[in-house]
Each structure stands twice: as structure tokens, then as C-alpha cells.
Symmetry: C2
Subunit: 189 residues, 2 copies
């Protein structure tokens, strides 16, 4: 049986977050939102662990330590789970570009995965954050797929996202309240 190291508990202070110019904050805000959704039994959505290829484990320690490994390219998206009986699957990305959203850092496996989810009857999208506009949009996978495969620059213009995407409101407990948008866009509620 594997022994796990017990991570130190970090007490989280709930403070008003200035979202600009802070790396990782977007991911953290989504994780907090999902945790809130879980706590109120609204949805069961988790971030998947980062895929890693382990090369060498040092067993002389207890618990064992990984002493050599590298990052693998993810074949699926970062987030999935269940909401109101529906399978939900999405990726989250941000850009400092003001005029378009580059799709370069979404790999083709992920785009195919998002499109396949929709074929299978699930709900899938990309949450796109424009850091400098401080705006987040839910962009349906079909639009992502369209630009991924047909646009030479592999990017979606900001104006297209503004008109065809769906702005996600910031909230207090649900910091990035994307399920409110899912209700409107996919569930007609």
C-alpha cells in the first residue's frame, strides 16, 4: 500500500482578489468555485491532476519520493464532472492579448476531446479569460473547434468572443460563477 505524505494545512483567508496580473489566480478561483459548488451539493466538478511521467522513485524515503519525472502532454481537459445529471467537461485558459484569444496552448487532443464530449451528449466548453480586460467568457467547443481548424492564426478575435461567447459573472462565494451561464446556454434555465 502506498503511503502518502500529509501536506501541511494552509489556512485560507477569504479576501477580495484583484484578478489582474496574478498568475495561477484564475485556476485557483475556478478550484475555489468548484469547491463551493461541491459544498452546497450543486455540482461535482474537479480539476484533474497534471499528467506526469515518473522516471525514478527513491524508495529509501518513507513515504517514497519521486526524484525524476517530466510533464506529459494532457490528452483530455483539466476539468470534468456532473451537474444536474449532465456530464460537464471544460478547459480554462487565459491570455494577455487584448484583441484575440490564441488557441495555440490548447493541444489538438484536447480540442478533439471537447468536440467528442458534445457528440456523446455532454456539455463542453472553454473558459477564456482576457487578463487585461478582466473578463471571462464561456466559449462553446463548436466555436473553438471552428477557429482551431479553419483560422490560419489559430486564434479567435475578441469581438467574436464578445458576441458569440457568454460572459461569466464574478461572484463572492462562487468566484467565477460559470454554472449560471451553463444554465442559460445549455439548459435554458
Amino acid at each position: 500500500m502506498i503511503k502518502y505524505a500529509i501536506p501541511k494545512k494552509v489556512k485560507k483567508e477569504k479576501t477580495h482578489i484583484n484578478y489582474s496580473n496574478r498568475g495561477m489566480v484564475f485556476e485557483e478561483a475556478i478550484n475555489n468555485t468548484n469547491e463551493y459548488y461541491r459544498n452546497i451539493d450543486k455540482a461535482l466538478i474537479h480539476k484533474k491532476p497534471t499528467p506526469i511521467h515518473i522516471v525514478k522513485i527513491d524508495n529509501s524515503n518513507n513515504p517514497a519520493r519521486i526524484c525524476d519525472a517530466y510533464f506529459e502532454q494532457p490528452s483530455t481537459t483539466d476539468y470534468n464532472g456532473i451537474y444536474k445529471g449532465h456530464y460537464i467537461d471544460f478547459e480554462a485558459k487565459e491570455t494577455r492579448n487584448k484583441t484575440s484569444f490564441p488557441l495555440r496552448n490548447i493541444n489538438e487532443h484536447q480540442v478533439k476531446h471537447l468536440l467528442k464530449v458534445q457528440e456523446m451528449g455532454g456539455i463542453s466548453f472553454v473558459l477564456m479569460r482576457f487578463t487585461l480586460h478582466d473578463e471571462i467568457y464561456l466559449v462553446d467547443s463548436s466555436l473553438v473547434g471552428k477557429y482551431y481548424y479553419s483560422d490560419k492564426t489559430k486564434s479567435i478575435p475578441y469581438q467574436v468572443i464578445k458576441s458569440k461567447g457568454h460572459k461569466v459573472p464574478y461572484g463572492y462565494l462562487a468566484e467565477i460563477d460559470y454554472l449560471k451561464v451553463v444554465d442559460q446556454v445549455y439548459l435554458n434555465e
Copy 2:
């Protein structure tokens, strides 16, 4: 942008597998089954990466190498995805015990997660393999939860699994054809 190391492609030979006495083969067989299900567009189910806490990254290499990390306790199950529009979530475990299935190596987070999936309208279970009987059973989360919380020894007797669980057939292309059982047990097909 993160650079990924390209893993060497290993050519897989399809041979008849003797499942006895071979560690990791169970997990591999489930992964192969899921890959087959994906290839024929039957279901979109993936194994989640193992959760790892990264302590130190060596950036002097390109791509970067992880030079210190440890295993974290998973808070969800290993497998999830979508099948016929339904959210599917399960854990897979095996034992060399002949008379009962010990639940010790399923952690409480995972049991709670499985039960929560069902409350949310999803399908969840544990695939249990008795290595020495060479039998695999699909055991519904409610039965797992019952024994996890009420049985002193935290284990389910083999006879109970034989009568209340559902035997999963071995197949050729779908090596562990658990969706056949899902059809019968959850979808009345």
C-alpha cells in the same frame, strides 16, 4: 509555455493475456478497454493522472524535469467520463484475498465521492478483481458504502459480492467489458 518530453512509442502486441499473478495488468486492461470504447465511439472514459505534489523543478533541463515530488492521496476516483449521455465514475481495485474484498485501500474521500455521484444522478461503482479466482465484479457504490461504514473489518465477503455484485465478462477487444454490465444493471438494456 510548457514543453513536453515526447515519450517513445512502444508498439503494443495484442496477445492473449494470462491475468493471474501480474501486477498492473488489471489497470492496463481497463485502460485498453477504455481506449477500445473510445475508438468505436461507444464511450469517452479516461483514467485520471495520479495526483502528485511537486516540490522542486529543475529548469536547467529543457524540457524541465521534476526532481522532487511525492504522491498525494487522491480525493476522487481513478476513472470517469460519459456513456450514452450518462456520467460514469468508478474505482478499480484488486485483491489476492480469496474470501473477502478488503476496502482498506479505498480512502474515505473516494467512498464519499462515489456515493455523491449517485446522489447527483450519475452511475458509480467499484470494479473488484479477485486475482486468485480470476474474476472481476462490478459492485455498486451503495454496497461499497454500506460495508465501508458498517463492517468492522472494512471488507465485503466474497459470497456477498458473488450474489449482489455483477460479474464482468472478459472479452477480446473490450478486455474487461464492464459497459455490458452497466447496460444491464443501470440502463436496463
